[in-house]
Amino acid sequence: MSESQALETNLSGVADDLDAPPRSFWQRFEPIILGTSTIVVALIVWELLPRLITLSAGTKLFFTTPSQVAGTLWKMFATGSIWTPLSVSASGFAVGLGLAIVVGLPLGVLIGRSRTLNAMFDPFITAFNATPRLVFLPLVMLWFGLGLWSKVVIVFIGALFPILINTYEGVRNSDKLLINVVRSFGAKEWDVARLVVVPNAMPYIIAGLRLSIGRAVLGVVVAEFFGSESGLGVMMVQAAGRYQVDIVFSGLIIFAVMTLAMTAAVQVLENRLGRWRPQRTGGE
């Protein structure tokens, strides 16, 4: 009873949002106010928890407060001790993701344009995409050692498939009529790709890129946990072993900010690249 009422109010609420422009201040900013206040309340409760109830000694070992984490983060940036591991992690991330784009984009276009290639690659892509690429981590470490390159390879195979598959989907969905028109005017396959297929696939490619950022960060973290000498992941594992929970959380926050910042950058890129587009086609 109450549930279905909830359903109704919710749905009418959504409809209101869509139909009429928000009227009052409260209506306009409700989502932001509610969202931030949840986070603030969660942080305050977390901060006050050890002061309100006494934690057992064992739990205390694993406990940290937001203020401690903030202090640790501040210290890391103030003393500059964070820059070395951060740059090590960032370079693995950047090289791996860059390689994934350089390989995944052209390969996605090729597979999307050729039925034969598509059929030949399909079993491999399906198998690798379904499998968590982490299974290859011990193998990659065996082949590439403890250093930048095994990290790059893990990031690369993690980030490759979202880009490859989305490019492929975008290419497959491009307008046949436009392709035929460009062809009739004597365009080569290269021109078709440049003029029609890639611009058409752009929303898909961007969506793939967004996904691959998360995968790439995951790759950096895990590769550094198991096979690296320096980097943020190494810092976190060592800190966990020494019960320095605040350092673990600092690392997590840095990774999260990295992911969110990159995703936001991709969003900006998407808006820029999509400006010429008369209306949203494809994409969703």
Partner: protein, 271 residues
């Protein structure tokens, strides 16, 4: 939320293919897999690779056969399956419940969306060392990591599914005198379920990552541990056998869900 949109993009792609063409595709796919294996095997005739670092398909197949026959593979898989089942079930229950509440109650959605997005965006795998140190190397530690990784696709997809319930349909069922039960069985569940199943597909991949990370880290048994140990022992044939076992399972699980989606919600496939 990002995954939800990509989900639909993936589904919209496949146009109906005539049977002859599909047949051609399958044959060509098989051919390329066979060619790949033959080339892999043949390379060893020409290049003397160090067998410590690479193995041949024939040796891998033999190792796979041995491990299946001795029951070792099955035992390791069974050990890994237990925390997976616990963590994943907890993720379904918690994720779907939270998702429903967040979808039904707009204010709850507003309140929880940002904090959940932050969690979803942060690489929670990074908490694995902490979780392991806290819970130990047993089932509970692994299950916690799996839960943490796989709960968010359920939350966001269920929320999106509840939001997508057609208000018109709700009103129609009501106007025609439908009961609460009708409302749920005929409108709400059919509309939300496809989203949950799509979320499950993402969550399975993340759950498997959780299994592997937890077992690479600290374990004394399990399939992830087996891969890491055989790597350390340079027993590449057995290591590849385990890797292929995981690949097979992952493909069966994701493709199985995809197949179930097509069978159960045919109206979603054309979108």
């Amino acid at each position: 939320m990002a995954d939800v949109t990509v989900q639909t993009a993936t589904e919209s792609a496949a146009p109906p293919i005539p049977f002859s063409e599909r047949y051609f595709n399958v044959l060509l796919g098989l051919l390329s897999v066979v060619l790949f294996l033959v080339a892999w095997q043949a390379v060893f005739l020409f290049v003397p690779f160090n067998q410590l670092f690479i193995s041949k398909p024939s040796l891998i197949a033999a190792a796979f056969y041995d491990m299946v026959m001795s029951g070792e593979l099955l035992r390791e898989l069974a050990v890994s399956a237990v925390p997976f089942v616990y963590g994943f079930s907890a993720a379904v229950v918690v994720g779907v419940t939270l998702g429903i509440v967040m979808g039904w109650r707009v204010r709850v959605g507003y309140a929880l969306d940002p904090i959940m997005t932050v969690f979803y965006a942060s690489p929670l795998v990074a908490l694995a060392p902490l979780v392991i140190v806290f819970f130990g190397v047993g089932v509970s530690g692994k299950a916690t990591i799996i839960f943490l990784l796989s709960v968010f696709p359920f939350i966001f997809n269920t929320q999106a599914g509840v939001r997508a319930v057609d208000r018109l349909l709700v009103n129609v069922v009501r106007s025609l005198g439908g009961t609460e039960k009708d409302l749920y069985l005929k409108v709400v569940v059919p509309s939300v379920l496809p989203y949950i199943v799509a979320g499950a597909r993402i969550a399975i991949g993340r759950g498997l990552i959780g299994v592997l990370v937890a077992e690479f880290f600290a374990a004394s048994e399990g399939i992830g541990y087996a891969i890491a140990r055989y790597g350390d022992l340079f027993a590449l044939d057995k290591m590849f056998a385990c890797i292929f076992a995981i690949m097979i399972i992952a493909v069966i699980m994701t493709e199985g869900i995809r197949w179930a989606e097509r069978a159960a919600f045919p109206w979603r496939v054309g979108r």
